[in-house]
């Protein structure tokens, strides 16, 4: 069974999407050494991959199109790729298309519009879709792969891939666990957010010598 990954992260190989899709592939193939004849990976941020990706999309396979949410929908490079699929309207009947969308915010509400859009897109392309993997709190996954939380997340993706290879379906329980919370607990949020802002943002601003300029308004 063939798996083709279309990585729509503007960060390319160094992205969270890469870590997550490869974990899925590891579960799918049952090994980290993906069989060359059955696995292909395209990075849409790489102009050299674009044409090959376009050609490969309609081939018989399971496709995993993954991207982070940018301003509440797909990044521009992903939309450019989707537009290039226009000639395939209604004809991708052999392309089982799974989507993976992730956002840095913890709430699942941020990925809902793309869930709805992508399922409609699959219908337009004529592609059967096992579903949309949604993930809240996905920013930083690439840096946390060795942490307890990171390992747990990646294990879930491996399980998704393994179970999909066995059944042809995405496990609904795992999808629920990944999609994110409905809201941060109201009593904890006033404590969590300042800590997150300090550890995630202020420390990097200070490290870059940009902390004093963090509120700058260069456009006046």
């Amino acid at each position: 069974m063939r798996l083709q990954i279309f990585n729509g992260s503007p960060r390319g190989k160094g992205s969270n999407s890469t870590v997550l899709t490869r974990a899925f592939a590891k579960g799918f193939f049952g090994t980290e050494n993906f069989p060359q004849e059955e696995f292909r990976e395209f990075f849409l941020a790489n102009p050299g991959d674009f044409q090959g990706a376009l050609q490969a999309f309609s081939e018989e396979s399971t496709v995993l199109l993954a991207f982070p949410i940018y301003t509440d929908s797909m990044p521009g490079i992903v939309k450019d790729f989707i537009e290039a699929l226009q000639p395939y309207r209604g004809s991708c009947t052999a392309t089982k298309t799974i989507f993976l969308v992730q956002t840095g915010f913890p709430e699942e509400t941020h990925t809902r519009p793309m869930r709805d859009y992508l399922l409609k897109l699959a219908r337009r392309l004529g592609a059967p879709s096992p579903g949309v993997i949604r993930m809240g709190g996905g920013e930083g996954t690439r840096n946390q792969a060795q942490s307890r939380r990171g390992k747990k997340t990646l294990h879930r993706y491996e399980e998704l891939g393994r179970l999909y290879a066995e059944t042809g379906e995405l496990d609904q329980n795992i999808l629920e666990l990944l999609k994110g919370t409905s809201k941060l607990p109201s009593l904890l949020a006033p404590f969590i957010l300042p800590l997150a802002n300090y550890f995630f943002w202020d420390r990097q601003l200070k490290k870059n010598g940009a902390y004093a300029k963090r509120f700058d308004r260069p456009l006046g």
Binding site: P10, R11, G76, K120, L121, R217, L219
Partner: protein, 185 residues
């Protein structure tokens, strides 16, 4: 009277019908006393956001790409209302328009706060974002579900940008809703 910014995301210079509709709308808005500025994004050089976070963490408020997008951001800051305009292509506005919208993020701060409904968002760098609306050219198969999906996505964007999304409207329809929405700005 309001200052209205039309961000035209029509990818092809050859899409004359859509351009003509937009021009008529622009004239109608001016005749009602508004000031209007247009940017035809297809005529600009606008790089894709690479998610590098330099605009938050290294040069706060400034993108690493020194291209025409700064005009888009300045126009947003001046406007009371931004009218995003684009044909729908496979059910969503153009990649050209989306690429410009992606690079909104220097207008926000990296920090995370809760909005009035208790959901996470970023604070604004300049304290304001204009009201938003979308003018689209439908495809042959555009249906009510498409419009609902697009509206949902733009409502979420507006909400996270601390403003409101007024409407998504086909430019093949009457301009009355646009005029009505702008009458009280």
């Amino acid at each position: 009277m309001a200052h209205i910014f039309i961000a035209d995301g029509t990818p092809s210079q050859e899409n004359r019908t859509f351009r003509e509709h937009l021009e008529k709308l622009r004239e109608g808005l001016i005749s009602r006393g508004h000031t209007v500025e247009n940017i035809h994004l297809a005529e600009k050089t606008i790089a894709h956001c690479t998610g590098c976070f330099s605009c938050w963490l290294r040069t706060p408020g400034s993108c690493i790409f020194k291209d025409d997008h700064v005009d888009f951001l300045r126009s947003l800051l001046r406007a009371d209302l931004v009218l995003f305009a684009s044909p729908l292509i496979l059910g969503f506005p153009s990649g050209l328009l989306k690429t410009s919208i992606d690079r909104f993020i220097p207008q926000a701060l990296p920090y995370i706060e809760l909005d009035e409904h208790g959901e996470c968002r970023h604070p604004l760098r300049y304290g304001k974002t204009p009201l938003m609306a979308l003018l689209y050219e439908p495809e042959k198969d555009t249906d009510e579900e498409d419009v609902q999906i697009i509206t949902f996505a733009f409502e979420r964007f507006a909400r996270n940008a601390h403003t409101r999304f007024l409407f998504a409207r086909s430019l093949e329809d009457s301009f009355e809703e646009v005029y009505h929405a702008t009458a009280n700005l």
